[in-house]
């Protein structure tokens, strides 16, 4: 087999391999959801961020419009500060509220934004004032038990 | 200021662990001559070639090429030395994945920046010198043993080396190939002015083409001189080797116990 023949076949092989990698990246993974375009940062403070992780999605009406960029503890107010990157071109009113929700019953947690009615929009670097913390299962259970015990005709002590 | 001797071996001792292969050997190889190194199997002939080529380092003594010592640790100078030396391995050692042409062209392509047309001409000239110009496109697998060795010879002389070393060039060849090989060695040596070292145990051919002969046995030189001088030697080891006596200083029997005892006979 001539030199040119070998080089062509190897080129074909490398091409196939790269195509496979691209296929895996696009069709099989979430590369396609990376937006080409700018993002702007918004912060929010939560009493309890629960199981929220960096790179979790930020959704509004169920549509992903951003990602969690960073999570840190505010040492003054002892609240969790979450920094989100939202897509450029998707603006939210200044009285938007942020909740930490769970996808499915036991799935990963994400931030849901519910827009308010203000006529002014959040600018890059602004903070969302109204937040609702994550539901922590232990608190829920103890609250349920507490309620049950407080009912008339509850458990005899 | 050219040294008369291309290669000089000064009181060289070499061995592996307990086994001593060469002890206190001194040899000189003058330029332009064909020198034969002869001896029985395992006497250290091939080791000598490896010492000269820098593959092995002597425990004691100095091996010099063109006045400067051969230092295997210095890769630069070692490779520079090897570019002036051509070696013919016992079975050719051709590169089996390349054609005959590419095999001979290999040293030219690796060590020179000559353009391809020039390399082509040189390769064909070398192949012509060994009589195999028509076999240029064959692969080593298609060649007979004798032909393979001739191609290897063409490859060894591709860079017109000053020293050509032959490791058992006559082993296993039919009478015609033997004649061809001996003829080539002598003619090439005279035509190019190179120095040839022939390691062999083929007495007849070596005596025909050599200017000087060394006979080695058990790591020592037991005889040296022109072929005529060695032929007339009365050293028993030399005589046994040249005459092909089955028994002599080199014993026929491998060391063993009493024959009778082995057979269970009571003496």
């Amino acid at each position: 087999m001539g030199r040119k023949g070998i080089e062509t076949l190897v080129g074909l092989f490398v091409l196939l391999g790269l195509l496979a990698i691209v296929f895996l990246a696009l069709k099989a993974a979430n590369l396609a959801t990376f937006r080409v375009g700018g993002t702007y940062a918004i912060t929010a403070k939560f009493d309890n961020i629960g199981g929220l992780k960096v790179r979790a999605p930020v959704k509004s009406a169920g549509v992903t419009i951003g990602r969690v960029a960073a999570i840190s503890l505010d040492t003054v107010s002892y609240q969790g500060t979450v920094t989100m990157e939202l897509e450029q071109g998707v603006a939210f009113p200044t009285d938007t509220s942020a909740k930490i929700l769970t996808s499915g019953l036991l799935g990963d947690q994400y931030i849901g934004l519910v827009p308010g009615g203000s006529e002014q929009n959040l600018k890059p670097g602004d903070q969302i004032k109204m937040t609702q913390s994550a539901v922590v299962l232990e608190n829920l259970i103890s609250q349920f038990l507490y309620n049950k015990a407080a009912e008339p005709g509850g458990e005899q002590k | 200021m050219k040294n008369d001797n291309l290669v000089q071996i000064d009181r060289v001792t070499f061995g592996y662990d307990q086994r001593v292969i060469l002890s206190d050997i001194t040899m000189t190889f003058p330029r332009g001559k064909v020198i034969a190194i002869m001896g029985g199997s395992g006497c250290g002939k091939t080791t000598l070639l490896r010492l000269i080529g820098g593959t092995l380092t002597p425990q004691r003594g100095v091996v010099s090429f063109d006045g400067s010592p051969v230092n295997p640790r210095d890769r630069e100078s070692l490779y520079a030395l090897r570019r002036r030396v051509g070696m013919l391995f016992q079975f050719g050692a051709l590169f089996t994945d390349l054609t005959v042409f590419d095999n001979v062209a290999f040293p030219l392509r690796e060590h020179t920046t000559l353009p391809e047309p020039m390399i082509r001409d040189l390769v064909l000239m070398k192949l012509n010198a060994v009589g195999l110009r028509g076999a240029a496109q064959l692969k080593p697998a298609d060649l007979s043993g004798g032909m393979a060795r001739r191609v290897a010879l063409a490859r060894a002389i591709a860079l017109d080396p000053e020293l050509i070393m032959y490791d058992e060039p006559f082993a296993g060849l039919d009478p015609i190939s033997l004649g061809v090989a001996a003829n080539l060695i002598r003619r090439l040596n005279d035509a190019t002015g190179a120095t040839s070292l022939v390691v062999s145990h083929d007495v007849r051919e070596c005596f025909l083409i050599s200017d000087y002969v060394y006979v080695i046995s058990s790591g020592r030189i037991v005889g040296h001189g022109t072929p005529a001088e060695v032929q007339a030697s009365d050293d028993p080891e030399v005589r046994q080797f040249i005459d092909g006596e089955p028994d002599g200083p080199v014993k026929f029997h491998y060391p063993a116990g009493e024959y009778g005892a082995d057979l269970g006979l009571r003496s």
């Binding site: 080089e7 496979a20 990698i21 993974a29 979430n30 396609a32 | 050692a93 089996t96 290999f106």
Partner: protein, 252 residues
């Protein structure tokens, strides 16, 4: 004393690896040699890699479906197939197949070249066989492995699609969307590629070393090829454990 010999062998092979890495730039210089080696290592492995990938994809889908449907999670089949392949099966199975197919052929080739004194002849012609013979093969192995592993995973996912969607009847939309939501490019696909590069280095190194150090007899070459397969396979499995622990156990 047997342990001493083992240690010495380990040290010897470490020096060999360093020499190999140092002669890599030469492989780039003699580009055509490397390309020819990619051809013999990569192209000739395509059939077995593609066939194995397809088979593994089929089986993953079948087995996965039976397990997932018990928990009513059959729609996550695409995710299961993709993650299993991209993170583990792609790099590891390709590594094992590579060790068997390309590794043994490299070892045998180098061993026979050594037996035929070709390497010694090259040395005597002032050409370093490590640069001209070994380095191109080393580079070719490192390049070919991740490509083969990606092909294995891609073909496997397609195989899973064929069985899951076309044969079993899972909704294609769910198949792909669950997969796309759950498989991360950098953490999953990227780490899988890193794994296959590491396996490529290990398997090619072992194959070349065994060939270079083989005894120049038929038995010697046979033993060397056996050692190549055994050591490469163990290395792939061992490295897989270490890499998986490093990459995937830390919570994101």
């Amino acid at each position: 004393m047997w342990a001493l010999g083992l240690l010495r062998g380990l040290g010897h092979s470490a020096f060999f690896l360093v020499d190999l890495l140092r002669s890599l730039p030469w492989a780039l210089r003699r580009l055509f040699l490397t390309i020819a080696q990619i051809h013999s290592i990569g192209n000739y492995s395509l059939v077995i890699i593609a066939a194995s990938g397809l088979a593994v994809g089929f089986v993953l889908a079948l087995q996965g479906y039976y397990t997932l449907s018990r928990y009513g999670a059959a729609e996550s089949l695409g995710l299961l197939v993709a993650l299993s392949l991209v993170r583990e099966l792609g790099p590891v199975v390709t590594g094992l197949l590579f060790a068997g197919r390309a590794g043994t052929s490299l070892t045998a080739e180098i061993g026979l070249m050594k037996a035929g004194e070709q390497l010694a002849a090259m040395e005597m012609m002032a050409v370093d066989p490590k640069e001209r013979v070994l380095a191109p093969r080393f580079l070719a192995g490192i390049i070919a492995m991740p490509l083969l592993a990606a092909l294995f995973s891609a073909v496997g996912i397609l195989g899973g699609y064929v069985v899951g969607v076309l044969m079993i009847g899972i909704d294609p939309g769910a198949f792909w969307s669950q997969m796309q939501n759950g498989v991360d490019v950098w953490d999953d696909v990227g780490n899988g590629i890193v794994k296959s590069v590491v396996f490529g280095i290990a398997c090619t190194f072992v194959a070349l070393y065994q060939g270079y150090e083989a005894q120049a007899t038929p038995e010697g070459v046979a033993q060397a090829t056996t050692r190549t397969v055994v050591i490469s396979s163990l290395a792939v499995l061992g490295l897989d454990f270490v890499l998986t622990a490093l990459m995937f156990s830390a919570p994101r």
